[in-house]
Each structure stands twice: as C-alpha cells, then as structure tokens.
C-alpha cells in the first residue's frame, strides 16, 4: 500500500437499524472509519466481504459481530487493492472441499453401516433376544399376516403336521415350540415367522405331488429359519436400515418411511445368506430326525417346475408372497448341495400314515377358494 485511501460508506452498528454515514480510510492495520458512535478499526485479518448491490461490498468484522459497513464501487476497488487476500478464493475453496470430503466420508460411513454394520449386528441381537419376547412378536405378526394369508382352517391337518414338527424341533434342538398352519394360497410356498410359527400354502402340497418326505424336507428348511432366528434378524435389520435411511436421506419423510417400514414388516423376506444357512441347518435337522436330505432336492425340483406355469394365474398378493424360490439362492446349486448330503438309508422319521396324509393333502379344498375374498 502506497498511501491511505479514503471514501464514504454506510455503517450499521448492529444495535439499531439506523444508517450511519461513515468516512472510511484504508490504513496499514485495517479499515478505519468514523461514525456517529465513534472511531472504529477493523483489522484486515478479521474482515469478511460479501457482494453488495451495484458492485459494492458489505464488510463485516469478527471484532464487531452484527455490525456492517457498506461501501460503493470505489471503496470496493480500494479494498481489493489493500487486502487482496480477502478476495482470494483459495481459503473458501479449501473449506468447501474439506466440507464435501467430510460429507462423502460420512455418507460412506452410513453406506458401510447400511450394507454391512446393521446386517452384521442383526444376528447377535436376534440371538440375545428373550425367546418369550420373540414368541410374542411372532404371535402379533401372525395376526397381521393372517389378513393377507387366509388360514385353510384345517385344524386336524394343522395338528398332525404341528405334532411332527415339534417332534423334529425337539430332536434337532430348534429352541422354540412350533405352531403350524396351512394357508389358502395356490402358489407353492412356506414361511417361518419369529418364535416358531410356520406356515405352508396349499399349493406346496400340490406342487410336491403328495411327496410327504419332500414336504417335511421343506419344513426342515423352515425349522432352520426358526432355529437361526432369521425372523428376528430380519426385524432388526429392517428397523436399523429404516432408521439409517431416515437419518441419511431424511427428505423422504418420516411418514413415508413409516409406510415403508410397515410394508417391510408384513413381508418378511429372507436374504440369500439366510436361505443358505437355513438349508445347512435343515440338513442337520433331517440327519438328526431320519429324513433323507436328498428329498429337499426333490422339493426344489418340483417347486421350480411348477412355478412358471402357475405364476400367470396368481393374483398380486399371492405373487408377492410366492417368491420362495426367487429370493433364495440358485436352485441348481441347492439341489446339488442336497444331493451331496443324500442319506439313502435314513430312517426313523415319524411319517404320517396314509390316512393321516390324506387328511393333510386334502386340508385346503381348492373349491373353497372361490369363497375367499382375498383370492382371485
């Protein structure tokens, strides 16, 4: 700076809306000005400059919070010469890059939690859950799911299967008493809710062409889900993911999240990893109870064959629940895995006798479908 430059400006003291005329001088130390309330010196290092209308500048100083000095184009040009560092965008750019980097890092952290952290925590959390609580949760979910999946009201058939499943559960140390029910859905499917509630569709028995061994193999798979507490894992996972989604995106709205969460809960879907786990546990259960694991391969083949033909006829609700295979790992791999575990000499399984199986295979009369409002 070769000499002091001076110009006029308007000073707002931050205490009132009054505009004070100010005579401004640029000194070696900073911006000096006289106003009605006295003399001021704003050091260059503590100065902020923002554009003002008509090419002017609005200066503020960290030494005088709330106050502002508005200068015109001449003053602005002088300030640019006196304190060029104020207008060097390097510092602002660095801060901006640091901000974006921090936000990207935070987003990556959330992403990690979303894809790995929460799913990984769901297993230990599920195992730590009091079984009594899980049974209660299963009961409530069952009541809600029953609105979508109508019971066949086949008490006798349900009791026969339930008895065998409890026998299997006891021998294989599944850890929960099993409650079984046939549901009136044509798509071949079976599912396990938290706390030992197992359901099979009437379409499953049809698809398996009355192959009792294959039916109980599918049930062993569902008991695998029960034993591994996959239902509770799914609940914890969904709750965690919904919360994370809300924390990160937020803009999608809590109310919409609620709907999303509700929808998710009504369709407990198991991940491929869980399916593989359930298969592995099913093999153990079958070995422990005298069932040939190869029968699970037959079940996969039968269900895979029937699905493409049936799919076009099913209504929307059924189809959403019908993806027993589509949400599962590669069927061919599973068939091979089951065949590899074949125990042709397995025996001791408490099969139903012919009369009992006849009760089961006719548990849901297809003719009654027409009376069910939820069907077709």
């Amino acid at each position: 700076m070769t000499g002091e430059e001076s110009f006029s400006g308007v000073y707002y003291d931050g205490a009132s809306a009054r505009a004070h005329d100010a005579e401004v001088r640029l000194t070696a130390e900073g911006v000096a000005f006289e106003a009605a309330d006295g003399a001021h010196l704003w050091p260059y290092g503590r100065l902020d400059a923002a554009p003002a209308p008509n090419g002017g500048l609005r200066l503020s100083s960290k030494t005088a919070p709330g106050a502002a000095l508005v200068i015109g184009t001449n003053g602005a040009a002088a300030i640019r010469r006196a304190a060029p560092e104020l207008f060097d965008g390097t510092r602002a750019r660095r801060r901006f890059i640091a901000l974006v980097a921090a936000l990207v890092a935070a987003a990556a952290g959330f992403g990690w939690l979303f894809f790995f952290g929460v799913p990984a925590a769901s297993g230990p959390l599920a195992r730590a859950t009091d079984p009594k609580l899980e049974i209660q949760i299963g009961e409530n979910l069952d009541a809600q799911i029953s609105l979508l999946l109508r019971s066949c009201k086949a008490a006798e058939a349900d009791a026969l299967i339930e008895q065998r499943l409890n026998d299997m559960a006891e021998r294989a140390d599944v850890g929960f008493p099993i409650r079984f029910e046939f549901v009136r859905t044509r798509m071949p499917n079976a599912l396990a809710l938290p706390g030992g509630r197992v359901k099979a569709t009437r379409g499953l028995v049809e698809a398996l062409e009355n192959d009792q061994e294959a039916f109980f193999a599918v049930m062993a798979h569902e008991l695998g889900h029960v034993k591994e507490r996959h239902g509770m894992q799914t609940i914890y996972r969904n709750a965690g993911l919904s919360t994370l989604l809300e924390i990160v995106t937020g803009g999608s709205g809590v109310a919409q999240q609620a709907i999303l969460v509700g929808g998710q809960l009504n369709q407990l879907r198991y991940s491929r990893v869980q399916e593989e786990d359930a298969d592995a546990v099913a093999f153990e259960i079958m070995e422990a109870t005298g069932l040939d694991p190869a029968s699970l391969a037959r079940a996969f083949e039968a269900i895979a064959d029937i699905e493409p033909d049936e799919e076009a006829d099913e209504d929307a609700d059924e189809e959403r629940l019908s993806d027993w295979l589509s949400t599962h790992p590669n069927t061919k791999d599973r068939i091979k895995a089951a065949r590899d575990r074949a125990l042709p000499d397995a025996d001791g399984f408490p099969y139903l006798d012919t009369d009992e199986w006849a009760i089961v295979s006719s548990a849901c009369d297809p003719k009654e479908d027409a009376d069910e409002p939820s069907e077709d």
Partner: protein, 360 residues
C-alpha cells in the same frame, strides 16, 4: 431523519443462471453425499437469493449456516425419527392387531400436529437468520400451539371439503405474522380494507370447481388409455403405465395450476396487504397472469431439468412476488432497535424430517 416513503418498492435482481448452477452442484453433491449436502446447498441458495433482494437499495442478508441446518436435522432425527420408528416397530410387534391400529392412529395425530410445529420452527429459524440494515427479524409464540391449531384447521378443512382452507390460511398467516418482529418493532397483521377487498372465496370457488372438473377429466383420460383391471393384475409396475400416469399428470397439474392461479394470486395479495410495520404496510400487485405464467414455466423448468431447476423455479416465484411488492407509508428505521429475542441455535430439522418444504 432517515425515513422512507413508499416511492421505492421491494426489488429482486436474481438471475436464473447462478441459481441453476447452485441447483446443479447441489444435485451432484447430494448424490455422492447421500443427500447430506442438501443443507449447505439450501444455504448457498438462500444466501444468494436474500442478498439479491433489496428495499431502498439495501439488501436482506441471510446469516444461516449449513451446519446449523445439519445439526437441527440430526437433533430432530434423534428426538423424533428414531423414537418414531422404534415406536412403530414396537407397536407392530408387541401389540395386538387392534392395539397396533390404535397406536398408529395416535402416531399419525401426533405427526399431523408436528407438521404445524415444524413449519413454525422453520419459520422462526428463517426469520432469525434474516437481517436488514443489521437488524434481525424474529418469530415469537408457541410452536406447539401453532401445531395444534394447524391440526385443527386441517381437520376443519377436510370436513368442509376444503372450503375452510382459505380462512385457515389467513388465520395461520395472522398467527405467524402477528407474532413476528423486525428488531424491536412488532410486525402487524391487520384486515385492511384493501386486503379484505380481495375476492378470496369467489376465486376459491373457481379453483374448487375447476379442480373437481380437472380431476374427473384426469380419471377419464387415464382410464381411457390404461385398463385398471390390467393394472390391478400386474405385480410389478408396467413402465408404460408409469409413463402414462406422468404423461396425463403433467397436463392435469398444469390445468389445476391455471384454474387455481386466480385464487393463489388473490391469497398472495390478501396476506401481503395485511402485513404492516410501524406506520407502513405492504401492498402487492401480484396478478393471476403472473401466477399462470410462473406455474407453467416453473413446472416445465423443474420437469425438464429432472428437479435440478427447483431452486431457480423458487427464485423466479420469489422474484416476481418481491418485484410486485411495495411499501406504503414510512418506516422509521432510526427508532428500530436490534431484536432481543433469543435466536435458535439450529433450524428446520423437524421440517426436514417431516419432508415439509420450508419456503426455499
């Protein structure tokens, strides 16, 4: 004396290019930050929009920070979203069917009450971060009370098939503005003769009947090109149906925008003309043509930029609104002291969590 006559109006000189740029980089950075950048993007936009809005050559200054919005959102998430989701899960899992329905109903009542509260809190933050001539604006009053009043008005509006809506808007505006300050000076909300002369209900009737006709027309148009039976049978949404929905919705939205334009312009003037400060009061020449033009062009701007044009669209609305506004009478700025109201440390978290557009 430093007094101002009404000769000079409010002015906004924003241009679309810089706003489009802010919208564009906010859009891109939202992708890589999983939308966390939105708080800073919004702040950049406001800072620019405020600084380009002037009265008597002196601009508004936005002093808010992205970090404040972010912290506000985190707080709202912790105190609202997490308990909300926990309650939702717990009630669904632990209560019976009826218990769950009751819990869900209660939850939604609370949610609707919170909508008003969120609007109020966002507004309080907005005003506290807006200064003019170095003096802050401020919003006083109870956000909870506003929330419940808003809830009551929502119910009344629903019961009356929307006909309480215009009255509710005026009453809610009164509740807001009558509790607002510019520094030490209270802002008034009065039913001036000019404000009362606006044809609020006549214009509403046109919007209501036009909207009904438009809705029936949309249903007729939609069902003539898409079979509802096929839609019901289809499990995954057919891309053709989705395109048809949007293709028919755009003309529907334009139609609604046009038939509601008169009412929207009337409401804008009705509320603006009710606001006063000291001896001065606001007036507005915002017209139906303004509203129609902005509705059509902004809708196209947002649609064809896939949402990037939202900020420029908001700017264009504000710009027209500001440039049609002027002040009648005198404001004695010398007498106005700095606001003594405590400024909120964070802002808009609740509104962000509830997905409420907090005016820009």
């Amino acid at each position: 004396m430093d007094q101002h006559q009404s000769a000079h109006g409010v002015r906004n000189d924003s241009r679309i290019g810089p706003m489009l740029w802010i919208g564009f980089y906010t859009f891109l950075l939202n992708i890589v930050t999983l939308t966390l950048f939105r708080f800073w993007g919004r702040t950049h936009f406001r800072r620019r929009l405020w600084s380009e809005t002037t009265y008597e050559g002196e601009p508004l200054v936005y002093t808010g920070k992205g970090l404040e919005l972010f912290v506000g959102f985190v707080i709202a998430t912790v105190v609202l979203a997490v308990p909300f989701i926990a309650f939702l899960f717990a009630s669904q899992l632990l209560l019976g069917e009826i218990g769950f329905v009751v819990a869900l109903t209660l939850l939604y009542i609370v949610m609707f009450a919170l909508i008003g509260t969120a609007i109020f809190l966002a507004r309080r933050y907005h005003l506290s971060r807006t200064t003019y001539r170095g003096v802050r604006f401020a919003q006083t009053g109870s956000s909870i009370a506003y929330g419940f009043v808003n809830l009551g008005y929502i119910l009344l509006t629903g019961i009356t098939f929307g006909w309480f809506g215009p009255a509710a808007r005026v009453r809610l505006s009164r509740r807001m503005w009558a509790n607002a300050y510019y520094g030490s000076e209270p802002i008034r909300f009065e039913d001036t003769p000019e404000a009362k002369a606006e044809p609020v209900y006549k214009s509403f009737a046109v919007a209501w009947i036009g909207g009904l006709i438009g809705y029936i027309g949309w249903i007729a148009l939609f069902t003539s090109v898409v079979s509802l039976e096929e839609m019901a049978e289809s499990v995954t949404p057919d891309i053709g149906v989705v395109i048809t929905i949007y293709a028919t919705l755009i003309p529907f939205a334009l139609f609604i925008g046009v038939v509601a334009a008169w009412h929207e312009a009337v409401m804008t003037r009705r509320i603006t003309k009710s606001i006063g400060l000291g001896e001065a009061r606001l007036t507005s020449r915002f017209s139906t043509i303004d509203m129609i033009e902005l509705t059509i062009t902004n809708l196209l701007l947002i649609t064809f930029t896939l949402g990037v044009g939202l900020m420029p669209a908001q700017m264009r609305l504000w710009k027209r609104y500001a440039n049609r506004m002027s002040v009648i009478g005198e404001i004695d700025f010398n007498a106005i002291k700095q606001s003594k109201e405590r400024t909120p440390g964070t802002g808009e978290g609740l509104a962000d969590g509830l997905d409420i557009a907090a005016n820009f």
